[in-house]
Symmetry: C2
Subunit: 244 residues, 2 copies
DNA sequence: CGACCTATTGAATACCATCAAACGCCGTGG
DNA sequence: CCACGGCGTTTGATGGTATTCAATAGGTCG
């Protein structure tokens, strides 16, 4: 996990979309400075809390989830390094979901008061943080469309394409391969399918030469076929470099 | 539709969540001032555009949607008066979905330059606009959970509970009743179900005394049963009055 | 009065969930 | 060194929910 901690992944994510001033870079380093380690499979935000800090991912994978009446878990978002897990909690209280570390995670806890000061003194940086929320919402929109209208294959393909691009942005993926140390059960909770069905679909996709996955490294063998199956178009991730 | 235009619905929505200064109220009236009417069933934002204005709903209902490969339409969000349809487009370009007027709508087009000035000069108002985005995202999250994990009855019940609360905030619903002049086909595209199945579920719900709907006025006859069926909890709509 | 849109109904089918059981891998402890 | 247990993966069988196809009925507007 060392590579992920060398450089501030939040700065990387933002500098992919707009240029930062020296002062902004310093502020982002302060934001990323309160480092803490979360053990795998533990919840670090619990539904109903009203935390006074927001959490920035520095390494590992985490997930926001809800539990519905019959006990099923639905993961609404998967977070990669550079993601602000709870930036919205700065304004939204109490929180309507829990967050679990899918793997061991390094995070930084940012006091809301600090964020508030940024909104008062740093309009450009404020817009960039706002942009992060907007991208987050765009991801939800796309997932909602997929969950409601696409078959299982396409949903899984979509998730894998998306997570690859997001990891690539922060330097954690290349050549259509990346670490994905989660279980098929987790993946089922992400895409809203049963574990059994996820397994069968994955085997079909492996058989068709679309991907390989040994439980750790996931490789998208045929990116074009995968993206076509997923109807994937990265526009919604807003990777354009442009003044905001 | 007159009642909806008497008072600025954006001010109403924000004042339900935090108090506004005189100056902020004036700015919001400027935002709501560029009034324009959109005919029913016409698209007023098209996927791929990079508009320089954002659109505020003043009356009527509109919807963001995507079309997937096999031609099915999925509505990702329904907008009521007071909603900023495209506030996120201020930062997010190009746009990854289209917006259609489900009914005739009055809207106001707000130049992005004006919004940008607000982020520079009005930190509190900036946070409130940010809050709108955050609530929008929370709605997506909840709908994603529902779409992935809940049966048809619950999904429809959820949507109706949610839209009732949101209309109530801007004074367009009371006593568990409100105007919903959309077709069952539209409703199917909202919840991600076929027209045929929507029809059958609605009849079951009518038969169980949960609701009545003549194509225009929708009445939630048994709110408690409906909310229970939907597993509905309005927390995510953030209706608390609190400094932001 | 006819055209068109929406709602309604029934039948056949597809997709995915659930249930149940076996298999493989790996770490632990006797 | 091997037996054991736990966890994750794999497989097959069965059933339910929702889709699709197809046809009818109702309502509204020119």
């Amino acid at each position: 996990m060392e590579a992920s901690t060398v450089r501030n992944p939040l700065s990387m994510a933002l500098e992919r979309r707009d240029s930062l001033s020296e002062r902004e870079r310093e502020l982002l380093d302060v934001i990323a400075g309160a480092r803490r380690t979360i053990p795998a499979r533990s919840d670090f935000v619990v539904e109903g809390d009203s935390p006074r800090v927001s959490t920035l991912m520095l390494s590992g994978l985490s997930a926001r989830y809800n539990i519905v009446a019959d006990g099923k878990r639905q993961i609404s978002a998967v977070h990669v390094p550079g993601d602000f897990v709870d930036l919205h909690c700065f304004l939204l209280r109490p929180i309507d979901h829990s967050v679990v570390a899918l793997t061991e995670c390094e995070v930084s806890a940012v006091p809301h008061e600090f964020l508030r000061q940024i909104t008062c003194a740093e309009p450009h940086l404020t817009r960039l943080l706002w942009l992060l929320i907007v991208i987050d919402a765009a991801i939800f929109r796309q997932r909602l469309v997929g969950a409601s209208r696409l078959p299982a294959e396409a949903q899984i393909a979509r998730f894998l394409c998306e997570i690859y691009v997001r990891l690539e942005v922060v330097g954690l993926a290349a050549n259509h391969a990346f670490d994905l140390p989660i279980t098929q059960g987790d993946l089922g909770d992400i895409v809203g399918l049963s574990l059994v069905h996820v397994n069968k679909v994955l085997q079909r996709m492996r058989g068709d030469g679309l991907l390989s996955w040994n439980g750790r490294e996931l490789r998208i063998v045929d990116w074009d076929a995968m993206a076509a199956e997923a109807e994937f178009d990265a526009t919604y991730l807003n990777l354009e470099m442009t003044p905001r």
